[in-house]
């Protein structure tokens, strides 16, 4: 039994079924990729895991415990941290304060000084600017680093990454894959939603593919690239006529 399991999770918005009957099993220390075309329900699934939404059906288990009914902050306390597709930061706080929020409130008690933790995490993600810059002055890439540092500062066991790579240059992508591996090596399990195949194929141990809210494939990167269904979902079927 893995660290995180979703069992038949279904989430609807009005008439639209965003996630349909999805079951996943993520093992400890895995980097688990979640891919699929735009609008396939990847982010909704992440939100259902992290407590932003409550799924209508199905359950989410973390370390064997049912976390489905918990609120976002409680889930964070259990050890699941996340980043957002559209970066969420606290614009009028300094970089350090932003990360400290994660360290103070997300972490389990009796840890070291939040400031130290925050600084450590900022260094860990190689944050390039002064720590007393305001978050509103950062560019998107720096914000993503900031958000990642904040998530890590919660001392999580599971990290949910939602499109961290969007807009990065190839050099930066390499750096990011290294970073993701380093995070994994520090003992954190990762689930990442990503469009950039290069990155996903490079770092993931296992990948699940969503299309129209349903899981259409799961396997190693190799298996996924060879899967006909996946190719069709991505490049589109050739015209039948």
């Amino acid at each position: 039994m893995g660290l995180l399991q979703t069992k038949n999770v279904t989430k609807r918005f009005g008439g639209l079924v965003a996630v349909k009957d999805v079951s996943l099993n993520v093992e400890e220390q895995q980097i688990f990729g979640l891919i699929g075309p735009n609008g396939a329900g990847k982010t909704t699934l992440l939100n259902s895991i992290s407590g932003v939404y409550r799924p209508e059906e199905g359950k989410v288990f973390f370390s064997g415990q049912d976390i489905t009914p918990l609120s976002a902050d409680e889930i964070c306390h259990r050890g699941i941290a996340r980043t957002f597709q559209i970066v969420h930061s606290f614009p009028q706080m300094t970089v350090l304060e932003n990360v400290m929020v994660g360290a103070i409130f997300g972490g389990r008690k009796d840890h070291e000084n939040p400031k130290t933790v925050a600084k450590k995490m900022l260094d860990f993600v190689n944050f390039p600017l002064r720590h007393d810059s305001l978050a509103q002055d950062l560019n998107t890439i720096q914000l993503k680093q900031l958000e990642l540092a904040r998530a890590l500062a919660t001392e999580c066991d599971l990290l949910l990454l939602d499109e961290v790579a969007a807009g990065l240059t190839p050099a930066e992508l390499d750096e990011l894959s290294n970073l993701i591996r380093r995070i994994r090596d520090s003992g954190v399990t990762i689930i990442m939603v990503e469009h950039l195949m290069k990155l996903i194929m490079g770092v993931c141990d296992r990948i699940a593919v969503l299309s129209f809210g349903e899981k259409i494939a799961e396997g190693t990167p190799q298996e996924i690239t060879e899967n006909e269904k996946v190719i069709e979902a991505y490049l589109g079927s050739k015209a039948k006529h």
Binding site: A72, A81, R82, H88, F90, F105, N139, R150, A151
Partner: protein, 345 residues
């Protein structure tokens, strides 16, 4: 020379511990001696009222500037504190000193309830909820004549049996400093960070493990309790209480002071109260024109400097530090900032 510097730093450290800067402390000391120097009852009274409005604006800022809810019913909590204390004193003969504390507790209780009511709301909707509660409270106060004497007003006993304004001035000065220290300590602590996080991005706050419910309600409760405390002071200082104290225009006054002072700074509210309240007093001869100017000031602040006085000071400080001693740091930051966006190519 060395030692002198050391003493200064020690004092500064101590002040910092209680949430005050040397500048702020000096300001309070100056304020404390001003009435002694002036020996003028009117000035003492004016300063006392300015401090009171400043304290009220601070408790407004505590919600508006941090969890980003404009408590549009603040005057009602202020009035509730006053009325509770006054009614206890008039009907049951309880000492106003105790009454003020009870009044603060009553306001805190209502603040707690309003905190729960506004939990699912944000922005203007939360403001309207607090406003509606306040209007309802004002209507009850007006109509529950057996208890409150309705709009005829309630004659309240004085807190201190004296004809001088000086004791009241020092009382409100101590209250204001106390409130300032409490609010500064809270906002400088982890709790303050949680407030800011909730105000700036509730979703990220929740994802970082902040219990939004708990902090939002705590914020409302504390802010309302402080407003109630000041209300108690008001009731036993002025000597008569009518439901008009709960009128929205009083909230607007606190709100204007807070916004002109700059949201989220706490200290901006005191400074702007110390400027605005006396200024309004001296412009009294201008009749309506004074209020027109007041409105124009609000508009100008909102149009051209939404950050208010405190924002102005920050910019001023940054300007000085960029030009002067710390210029290099500032420059460095800019260069680095540009550098990294270049590198994304």
């Amino acid at each position: 020379m060395e030692r002198k510097g050391l003493v200064y730093i020690r004092i500064a450290e101590f002040l910092k511990k209680i949430g005050m800067s040397p500048g702020g402390a000096l300001m309070f000391v100056l304020l404390a001696v001003t009435p002694l120097l002036l020996q003028d009852e009117f000035w003492t009274r004016l300063l006392a009222i300015s401090l009171m409005m400043g304290a009220l604006a601070m408790s407004f800022d505590f919600t508006a500037g941090f969890i980003n809810i404009n408590n549009f019913g603040l005057a009602a909590f202020w009035g509730l504190g006053g009325y509770t204390s006054a009614i206890l004193a008039v009907k049951l003969g309880i000492s106003p000193w105790i009454g003020i504390v009870v009044g603060a507790l009553a306001a805190a209780l209502l603040g707690f309830l309003v905190g729960i009511l506004t939990l699912r709301l944000a922005g203007i909707f939360a403001s309207c909820m607090t406003w509606f509660v306040a209007l309802a409270l004002m209507a009850v106060t007006t109509n529950w004549v057996e208890l409150t004497e309705g709009s005829s007003g309630l004659s309240t006993p004085y807190l201190i049996d004296t004809v001088s304004n000086l004791p009241y001035f020092y009382l409100i000065l101590i209250l204001t400093i106390g409130i300032y220290i409490v609010l500064r300590l809270v906002t400088k602590s982890h709790i303050g960070i949680a407030f800011k996080a909730i105000g700036q991005d509730p979703q990220a706050a929740a994802a970082s493990g902040i219990n939004i419910t708990k902090y939002k309600i705590f914020n409302m409760t504390l802010s309302c309790a402080l407003a109630g405390l000041i209300g108690g002071f008001y009731a036993h200082y002025v000597g008569v209480l009518t439901p008009n104290v709960m009128h929205t225009k009083n909230t607007i006054e606190a709100l204007a002071i807070c916004y002109v002072g700059g949201r989220g700074s706490i200290w901006g509210s005191i400074i702007s109260a110390l400027i605005l309240v006396p200024a309004m007093e001296f412009m009294k001869g201008m009749m309506e024109l004074r209020l027109v100017l007041y409105g124009a000031l609000l508009i100008l602040v909102m149009l051209f400097y939404p950050a208010g006085l405190s924002g102005l000071c920050e910019t001023f400080y940054k300007f000085i530090s960029n030009k002067g001693l710390f210029g290099k740091m500032g420059l460095l930051k800019n260069v680095r900032g540009q550098g990294s966006s270049q590198s994304s190519k």
